[in-house]
Each structure stands twice: as structure tokens, then as C-alpha cells.
Symmetry: C2
Subunit: 487 residues, 2 copies
Amino acid sequence: MKKVFLEKAERFLPEIKSTTLRPLPKKAVLNKGDSIVIDLGNHYVGYFSFVMKKVTEYIDAPARLVIRFCEVERELDDDYEDYNGWLSASWLQEEVVNVDFPGRFKLPRRYAARYIRITVKYTPRPLELSSFMFKAVSSADMSALIPAQISDPLMKRIDAVAVNTLKNCMQRIFEDGPKRDRRLWIGDLRLEALANYYTFNNYDIVKRCLYLFAATDRNSYGFMPGFLYEYPKYESGSWYLEDYSLLYVCSLCDYLEHSGDIDTFRDLFATAKSIVDAAISTLDADGFMTTPADGDAFIDWCPGLEKMTALHGVYLYTLDLWCKALMAAGMTDILPYYVEKIAEGRANAILKLYDSEKKAFINSRDNYQYSVHATAWMILGGVLNEDEGREVILSALNSHDSVKPFTPYMHHYALAALARVGLIDEVEKYIGNIWGGMIALGADTFFEAYVPFDPDFSPYDDRKVNSMCHAWSCTPTYFIRKYKIGK
Amino acid sequence: MKKVFLEKAERFLPEIKSTTLRPLPKKAVLNKGDSIVIDLGNHYVGYFSFVMKKVTEYIDAPARLVIRFCEVERELDDDYEDYNGWLSASWLQEEVVNVDFPGRFKLPRRYAARYIRITVKYTPRPLELSSFMFKAVSSADMSALIPAQISDPLMKRIDAVAVNTLKNCMQRIFEDGPKRDRRLWIGDLRLEALANYYTFNNYDIVKRCLYLFAATDRNSYGFMPGFLYEYPKYESGSWYLEDYSLLYVCSLCDYLEHSGDIDTFRDLFATAKSIVDAAISTLDADGFMTTPADGDAFIDWCPGLEKMTALHGVYLYTLDLWCKALMAAGMTDILPYYVEKIAEGRANAILKLYDSEKKAFINSRDNYQYSVHATAWMILGGVLNEDEGREVILSALNSHDSVKPFTPYMHHYALAALARVGLIDEVEKYIGNIWGGMIALGADTFFEAYVPFDPDFSPYDDRKVNSMCHAWSCTPTYFIRKYKIGK
């Protein structure tokens, strides 16, 4: 099957469109030690080239240039030598190049950048750099962007930046971030696909990604890896994530809902069913999912987070979408079994994870940690009715004691929980706070991590490696357009 | 005329032949901070590639590698950060590359190297490097190498290393050095051409270089620049050298002598004549060449050298070859004029630059500096008869007070002077001392500069930038083969 899935994935390889930017400045004369900053005017993903010429005499030695690509302006001043994050420093976008001859010099790699700084490390004589070109690439077709009527200026700006974020992550696949990882992750895939249905509405790239995941290896329980590599050679990931595997099922159900493409759903049905059944097979005596030795759950980059309750919410949420998809596909024979599982799971949640006096969920049976994460996922899992859900999610969000999301990824599910209980005004306020906060920092694209009280927060212990254009941060456009926010 | 000369030069562009080396080691597993040294087994010029693979898990970030190309082994240990020579540090052959994907990685630039060190600066996971390939390039055809019967082991080895030096400098042009400059210089051209006549005997590349110089700009007196650039675009050099201009004339005369190609001589006759006449036009009241403000003379990299006498020797030597060429080409009408100039020049030298008691030449009228340089050039200029010449050159070479050559380029002309007065045994001894000294240091090619008492000597104030495969050092093969030394 793996081969068949991969062949189908190739059929849906999107066309990469390119736009050539010819940014200012027109030219610069530089000597040893000099540098120049080129501002592309917006965040783009692509390829950079320039022309080097002599000024007076021929440059009789190679010019050694240090070229740094920055997604945001503050990265221009970062010292890369003192980087001490736990991801490889090779993600820092900086090249040392030797330019042997006058003429156009093209860097072969792809970068994500708004600002480009060129520093002349060595040159024997002044040189002129000119004709800067940035070939921006994306598989998003801007001419196909669905128009949206948004009158509120902040929401309008947030929508535009969200669309730019999505566009720059849409390449051969839905990448998580074009600066770093550049990989297909289920968590990003689902959110990109949701944003895509309301913007570019490109079904092919969604199908491609769904088929690519169908071809992955599975762990001992039948869960998928959270990510995969597709270029230059397909390679299944190695970090098996239960919540992400379930969100793969959600992504397929979303796709069916938006496209109505029952054929693709049937083609991937067995893959999705095996994951739902794998989740059920891990349930313990209390009816909660367990994590095998070779498995894990993500939920958020929030340090020290207990994930049991949130994972149970993902499970119930998935079952809900799964049952709706089975209905839509007319596969009603197996429906009652899953409907029963939902009822059981919700009852267990109320019984063992909910404090009805405090109106609060605990994060796990063994730990009284209180969080937005568990709360949002319980609401998305349909554990509470709408009235009680409103009270509970607002308490968690407003409490000083609750653990808050650290990533726009988890913020999305908090927003989804607010929307689920009808709090659309709160959705707008929340978007204004979080994504508006990034706009206030000058964002052209939305960041991988944004913690209002800690602007240097990094999941990797060093902000410098953070991705400042990250797919999972693009969903304000989904909420704004779906719920006509700021209209 | 410039365009016509350049068009002719292009006709003689030699074919670049390549040989693919697959050096040991077969493969290496490296982690962050590890390095590997690849020994090509000999000095080559060309292009390097390798295959990067995962060891266990996919390398989920680019690998940042520092790749250093060393002509000699000691360069492996050099600290390039403390380089303080006056040539651009960009000549130091080191690259920082980011390898994004598994598979073959080709460095686009050309290097001169025997040793290649790869250091893994950053990698998130162990990686395997394998299938190292070095595509060695040269326009020298090794299958056309004229065989030489040399029984003395040292002379045999020196001949082989000299041929390797010439081969690695023979590319689209006669380069001065494949590591640094990679440019056509008249001083190197003449010596490479001489060595070439006794080894590969490729006339086309000589013609190409002669035409390229014919197309250069001239200074206020009509002298040529010492060098030019020919790739990717022709560009005349800017350092006008009187001795080098005269040696251009010598190179054309040598070419006629060896090839018998009178057509090419006639085609370049006006160019050569204009230089000879330019030299004559600078003669002062004493009959010695003067140097205009936009001119200079090279002679040697020897610090503080007075060059007047040596330049006068170059002038007389050139007139001698010029007259012989005019004879051979049947251009006897203008011959008497130049013959008379030789006689005048020699007489002036004896009268004003020679101390017949001490049997020594002074370096200039104003300075009693004593040197091998002035002595050798006076002998090559035919100022003394053979017997007196022998005594004078041996005294200069053996004196503790004389300034000695610092480069194999000037050593060549000292050897030529010894040969001119019939001291072939001394030629052999001298080659054994100087070039044998480099062989004792493990040379696979001969160095740009070699000073036996100062192994760190550099014309550029830092040995690290020295070229260790330099065209002007290849002429032992010329002497060994021409005079059947070590047979």
C-alpha cells in the first residue's frame, strides 16, 4: 500500500509559482568590513541572487561574503556564535560564500526572509553589489485567494498576515515553517488545511499530504509519526504521537466535509480507522488513552504540562468528527460502535477528570495541574453542555493559576473551544490579544511561539532558532472568515 | 586590433581534460565537532564532491561543514583566523557549507589540493560521508608527455614534480598558481612555455597566451601590464612592468624558435617591436632604462632589491633574442639598429655597472648593493665573455654578502646564467639544493617561494597564503631535459 499511497501523493504535487522581487537598494559600494541590509518589504520564501562588479579595478581575489537571512528585524543584530539552543545551529540562516568572478551570483539554497544582510568579510578592493533579486516561491495561488470583507483594521491586518503565513508555508507540501524543519507535521497540516479551505481552497495539496501520511510507518500500537520527510526522498518520521495521529483522522474528516470527495475518504478510510481503533485499544480500566513506550503526545510546547486530560479530549473530538464523516459517507454500519465510545468517554471525563463544584478539569488523575489545554480539549470533546462550557473555558482563560498555551497551535484549539460554545466575541478579543500582539511587534507572518509576557520564549532554549513564519499560527484567517469576525 | 587578438586567442582555447579520483577513505561516520582528512595522494586541481547519508535516523537539519583544501600537509593545522598577510584572506581555501539533503553534494568552486579536511560544525545527528570524488582538471595531456631518460633518482623525482606543477597550472591559460591568482602573468607564461616545449609541447596554449597579452592596454611608455584576467571576461591588468613586457618579447621569440611558426611571429611582430622600442625610448643619458611613474619592474620578491642593473640585463637579453628572431624570420632590414643597441648597452654596463677589479656588478649606479639578480641578468645580457662570466656568477652565488633570489622564478634566471656560461654541473647542484630542498619537505608540486634559511618566508607577510604549486617553479624539467642532467 505504501507505494500506492506515494504514487497518489505524487499525482497531487502542486505547481510552485514564483514571483521575482527586485528590492531596493539599487546598488551599494562596499569594502572589507562593510555591510548592507536589503529589506524585501514583506516576508518571503525563495532564492536570492545579486550581481557583483568591480568599482575601479578588477577584484583580483574572491570576495568572501557573509549573508544572513532574517525573518524579523531583530535577528539582524543577533550573535549566532553564542547560540545555545538544543536544535542544530545549522538552522540559523547564514552563509559564508566565496564569489570568484564578477557577474550574477545565485545562492542555491532556499531561505525565509524579509531582511538580508550582506557583510564583506574579505575583499582586496571595493566591490559593487547590485541587481538584487529574490525569487519568491509558493504553491499558493494569490490570484485564487477568496476575497474577504473585513472592515475592522486590526482583523483585516491579521487576516492578511495569516494568509501570508499560510502562503509562505505552502510549498511542495504544507511545511511547518519555511526557515526551519520545512517538514510535514500533522499538527500543522490540519491547521493549514483549515485555513486553506477559507482562502486558497486548494484541495490537491491537502490530498497530497493525507496520502503522504498514509504511507508512514506505524508504532507498536498502530499510531503514526507526527511528521515525515518528502524531499528529496520520502522518509517516515520516528516520533510517534497519539494526538497528532488522531488529528490526521480529523484532517481527513475535515477534507471530506469541505470537498465532498467521498472517493478519497474511502481510499484513506482504512488508514483512519486503524488509528481510531489503535486509540481505543490503548484505553485503560478508567477508559483513558495510555501511551506506549514508543509513543508520545504533543498538545503544546508548554513546559511541564500534564497531558492526559487534553489527550482524552483529542480522542473524543476525533471520534465526534469521525462519526460525522461516517454518516456523510454513508458508512452507518460501524457507526453505533463509535457513538457508544463517545458516550462512554464523555461520562468517564465527567466522573474522573471534572470537579463540578470548582467547574474545572484537572490535567490528569494523578496531578491537580489546571490548564487551558485540558479545558479547551474537554470542551472540544463535547464533555460539557454549551452553558457550562462557556463558564469553564472563560474561567480557565482568566484564571491566574491556569497554565496557558505557549504556541499559536494550542491557542487555535482554545479559540476553537470558545467558538464551539458560541463565544465569538471572545474569539475576536483573543485573536486581537495574541495575534494582534505579534502585529504590534511588526509581524509580516505569525510566529511559531508567542508568549506575551516572555518575548524571548523558545521551545528550543534559544529564541534565535524560532521559526517566525509558522504554519500552525495561520488560523486567525480561518476564524475571521468562518465566523465573519470584524466584518 | 584588440578584438582581433582576442578572437584569435579564443581559437586556441585548450580542451580541459578531467580525471576522476576516488580517494580513500571509503566512508566515515561523523558527529558534531568531528573531522576527517582525505589524502588525494598527490597535488591536484579540480572539483570535490561527496555523498552524505544518515547513519540511523534521518538528519533532520542541514549539516554545516567546514571544508578546507590544503596543498601541503602543514596547512591542515594552520589557524586561518590569525592570518595577517596583505593579500586578501579570501584566497585561503576554506568553505563553510550547509548540506540540506542526503545525497551527493558538489562544491561548485575549483580547488588546488592534496589534503581535504571536512569538519562537522553542526549536525543534529551522526552522518555518514562517503563516495569522495575529486575531478582533477588540466589542459595538459599526460599521454602526450615527452618521455625523458633520467637515471639520477633525485633529478628524476624533481622532473616529475616539476611536470606535475606545470600540469596543474595548465588550464584555460598558463595560470601562475591554481590556488591563488589563477591568472596569466608574463613572468610565469615565459617559464611555463619553456618547460612546456620539453614536456607537453602544446603550442596552442602558448599562442593563446601570446594573443591575450597582445590585447592588453599599455601605459604611457607603451609597456604591457604584468598580468591579465581572461575569465569570465577579458580584462587587462593594471600593473605595468618593464621587465615582464620585455619577457613577453622573449616569449614570442622562444615560441618562434621552438615551433618555427613564422606566421604567428609576423602577426605579433608589431606588438613585440613596440615593446622593444618602448624600452629604447626610456634610455637615459647613460643608456639605462628608466621607469615612468605608471611603470615598475619586478625582477624578484626579494625585499629591498635595487633593480636597475638587473633590468638593464633583461633589456640586453631581450635584444639578443629579438635579433635572433628577426634573423630567423628574415627581417634583416631592421636588424642592424638593434644589434647596435646591444653593443651600446653592453659597453655601458661594463663602463658604469661593473667593477673589473672586484669582478662584480653593482645593482645600480647609486647603490653598491651586490646581488645574484644583477649578476645573472648581466651574464644573460651577454655583458661578459664566458670565462669571466663563470667567475663572476660563481662569486655572486657563493658570496656571503650577495643578495640571493627569494623565488624559484629568479632561481631560474640564475640557472640560465650558469647554463649560459657552460656550468651544467653547477646547474644540477643548484637544482638539487633548491628544488631538492622542496622535495625534502615532501613537495608534490613546487612552491611559489622557497628560501632555505627561512621556511616561513612569504612575499605577502603570511606563509598561509603562499601558492604551493606555482608555475614559475616548474623549470627544472626544462634544464634537466634540455641539458640531459642526471642522465
